[in-house]
């Protein structure tokens, strides 16, 4: 029997990613140079995580 996960556990990681994405969306608006770089990393994170999870073909 698999233990059911609580809502807090289900949404912890998505919440962090949403906050990081929001920082990325705003950062490049605020300034240039480093501010842009923060945006690239912060918004690149969801893409990177997607590829990571899909390619990590772990047997069940």
């Amino acid at each position: 029997m698999v233990v059911h996960r609580s809502l807090t556990r289900i949404f912890a990681a998505p919440l962090v990613i949403a906050i990081v994405s929001t920082v990325g969306l705003i950062s490049a608006l605020v300034g240039d140079g480093w501010w842009d770089a923060v945006s690239w990393v912060a918004l690149g994170l969801p893409v990177l995580l997607y590829l990571l999870f899909i390619w990590r073909r772990r047997p069940n």
């Binding site: 990681a13 990613i17 994405s21 490049a28 842009d36 945006s39 690239w40 690149g44 893409v47 047997p59």
Partner: protein, 387 residues
């Protein structure tokens, strides 16, 4: 059935219907939006443009009255609507001309001029371009304002679909780790995982790009609101004056505006009688120099008969909201790397849409109700789905 299950089924129904209605249009928007992220690069690649003359730093700009006269010499019988400084190419400016001053400016001819020499460069017909066709499909599907507002409505449904998607993500993940991708299972399971994973990873981005897109569909209405609100207020005393028979110097008007709003740079001038001005004024719109303030315009109204400043105010909040929402939709505010990230996120959004439609069709075929499937975590292991 518990109250939670009942409520989850309702959210599942919301997710299903809002998604189904908007998916086809969202696919169109994602696919046409992809090349639009790189529209400058694509235009450069596909179309030859006359390059402005090399001008060393500090070269003074040409006198705008001369520049305007040379531009109008290229378009006999036309009247100027707008003078626009090119955002990305400081060596070039645009003069937008129409048959009459009250003609629809979207059909205007655009004449490209050299900022420093004031010489004519070219007047490309952009309406046949690939990027133009993509832009029209993306903004109004060649259906004008109704098309725009319709796509705005689809955007609202998309946002509702995302929010309801967050809710139904929970029951789906009750037994799974974050980021679970069951590579060994059937396609229905794998694509459900892709849908959940990409959907939840992109929540913030899709909501922001979706909602700022909706705001952009209201641009024409926002302009009208500004026209009848702040602009009418600023020019109230001119309401009953006749249209000036002879306009004062454009160059002087821009200089007056520059002095009236120190620290800001002219972005465009609207001629008297256009949508962006009164019958009696040059409206010089200036912008700031940070990524954010460069999007916020401030008009300075110059009496086109006397050449003096009438008024200059910050735009009201609803116009500022529109201007700030534009970069957040286009992704053009953080250089080429941000554009590439934007494109990748757009492609992942296409994955979300396609897997979503697939899951719906699959469940329909196997006779599992979508609401029940969403509300019931165990449905992932339902034999109907995994067979």
């Amino acid at each position: 059935m518990t109250a939670t299950t009942k409520s989850l089924r309702r959210w599942g129904a919301v997710h299903k219907w809002t998604s189904l209605i908007c998916t086809l249009f969202m696919l169109l928007l994602c696919i046409t939006g992809l090349p639009l992220i790189f529209h400058d690069e694509i235009d450069d690649l596909l179309h030859n443009q006359v390059k402005p003359a090399e001008a060393p730093a500090g070269t003074p700009p040409a006198n705008l009255d001369h520049l305007l006269a040379s531009a109008l010499a290229q378009a006999p019988g036309k009247v100027p609507h707008f003078l626009i400084w090119d955002r990305d190419e400081p060596g070039a400016m645009w003069v937008s001309v129409g048959p009459t001053i009250d003609a629809d400016p979207t059909n205007n001819l655009l004449i490209r001029m050299d900022t420093h020499t004031g010489a004519y460069l070219d007047s490309p017909d952009v309406t046949g371009r690939f990027t133009y066709i993509m832009l029209k499909l993306h903004t109004d599907m060649f259906a004008g304002l109704p098309g725009k507002l319709f796509l705005g409505l689809m955007g609202i449904l998309f946002c509702v679909a995302i929010i309801s998607g967050i809710v139904v993500y929970a029951p789906s993940m009750r037994k799974l780790r974050f980021g679970a991708y069951r590579a060994q299972r059937t396609r229905a399971v794998r694509w459900l995982d892709v849908h959940n994973l990409a959907g939840i990873l992109l929540v913030a981005w899709t909501l922001v790009v979706g909602f700022t897109g909706v705001i952009n569909t209201w641009a024409d209405l926002v302009l009208k609101m500004w026209q009848f609100g702040q602009l009418a207020e600023m020019t109230a005393q001119y309401k009953d004056r006749p249209v000036p028979s002879k306009l004062t110097s454009l160059n002087d008007a821009v200089e007056v505006a520059r002095h009236a709003v120190p620290g800001m740079t002219p972005s465009f001038v609207a001629f008297p009688g256009t949508l962006f001005s009164s019958k009696s004024h040059y409206a010089v719109f200036l912008h700031g120099d940070t990524p954010l303030t460069s999007r916020l315009l401030k008009p300075a109204l110059i009496d086109a008969e006397t050449g003096t400043l009438t008024d200059s105010r910050d735009m009201p909040w609803y116009v500022s909201t529109l201007y700030v929402s534009q970069p957040l939709h286009f992704g053009d505010y953080g250089g080429m790397p941000l554009k590439i990230v934007w494109a990748l996120l757009d492609i992942l959004t296409i994955f979300i849409l396609v897997t979503g439609v697939y899951l719906w069709m699959r469940r329909r075929r196997t006779g599992v109700s979508q609401e029940r499937a969403i509300a019931n975590a165990a449905s992932i292991d339902n034999p109907a789905l995994t067979s």
